[in-house]
């Protein structure tokens, strides 16, 4: 494949280089996650992939999302992963040569390989996009260029969509966050009477929901 072929869509040489480099970074990172023996290395490879994806977001004019991707994914989620890895002390090499189920790996590879190949074939054979263009609104520029107060720019557009078309979805995420908080509290709570029998007669003595402050950190 030559650069001229790639550039056929009107892309410039820098665009092609940016895409090629980030694609390489993404794929290398993904392979790193799958093949590294040490979970810490896997997490760092994940960061690599996430950065590559963020670069491709910028390349496609999704600047705000790129920032969010780096901040939330690399900054919060991967840090959480690393924290748990270190907390559990599992940052050791794992013997990944040992195959628990004989034939599982080749089967998985073949299965997913066929699935992805057919997916790519389907993508190539069909028109890339057949959708109704611009159902919701253009990405850049204002909706009504004439009116002075109309929101303009990518972030303003995102915000507008978030509070109009996707208002209910936005509200529904509140439930997700409630679960995340309550779930974390439930799962991380230590039983104060770990070794005692569960007592039926005295449920009132049990730690209450706000027991986090009463917990004794070991």
């Amino acid at each position: 494949m030559t650069l001229t072929l790639l550039a056929a869509g009107g892309a410039t040489i820098p665009d092609i280089i940016v895409f090629a480099v980030s694609a390489a970074v993404i794929i290398m990172g993904a392979f790193g996650v799958v093949t590294s023996r040490n979970p810490v290395h896997a997490a760092l490879s994940l960061v690599m992939t996430l950065f590559g994806v963020a670069v491709l977001f910028i390349e496609q004019d999704a600047n705000f999302l790129a920032a969010v991707q780096v901040i939330v994914y690399a900054g919060a989620i991967v840090v959480l992963f690393l924290f748990v890895i270190m907390f559990l002390g599992v940052d050791r090499r794992e013997n990944i040569e040992a195959e628990p189920l004989v034939g599982q790996r080749p089967l998985a590879l073949i299965f997913v390989g066929v699935a992805v190949a057919s997916l790519v074939a389907l993508l190539v054979s069909s028109h890339w996009v057949t959708g109704a263009h611009g159902v919701v609104g253009p990405i850049n520029g204002s909706v009504n260029p004439g009116s002075p107060g109309a929101p303009s720019g990518e972030v303003a557009q995102l915000g507008k969509q978030l509070f109009t078309t996707y208002l209910f979805a936005f509200e529904a995420t509140a439930a997700l966050l409630v679960i995340a908080v309550v779930g974390a509290v439930v799962l991380a709570r230590r039983e104060r009477r770990d070794l005692e029998k569960p007592s039926v007669e005295s449920p009132d003595d049990e730690p209450s929901s706000d027991s986090s402050e009463k917990e004794v950190l070991r």
Partner: protein, 101 residues
């Protein structure tokens, strides 16, 4: 002007495939979990690419929701992992053997 969307979509499909293989072949719970994140990222990249190709910002908004879901999933998932493996030092799924499957 960036490359045609097909390149991005193919890259995303490959990334999704690598993530799926990772979930199926790896036995370390944390790594399996990271592979799920790879798959979600592939979906996000697909959304953003389609968003550009369609000239519709809706696809970018969906990425936000995927991010929120991923964050909530990570919190709960890692909570479960910590709750289970606090006493042992292995996060290999096959070391669990109370249940039959």
């Amino acid at each position: 002007m960036s490359l045609s969307g097909g390149w991005y979509l193919t890259l995303a499909a490959v990334l999704f495939g690598i993530g799926a293989v990772g979930v199926l072949v790896r036995r370390n719970v944390l790594v399996m979990f990271m592979c799920i994140e790879l798959m979600l990222n592939a979906a996000n990249l697909t959304f953003v690419t389609f968003s550009r190709m369609l000239g519709d910002i809706g696809g970018q908004v969906v990425v936000f929701f995927v991010l929120v879901v991923a964050a909530a999933e990570v919190v709960v998932g890692l909570g479960i992992v910590v709750a289970i493996f606090r006493r042992s030092t292995s996060t290999v799924a096959d070391d669990l053997h109370v249940l039959k499957g």
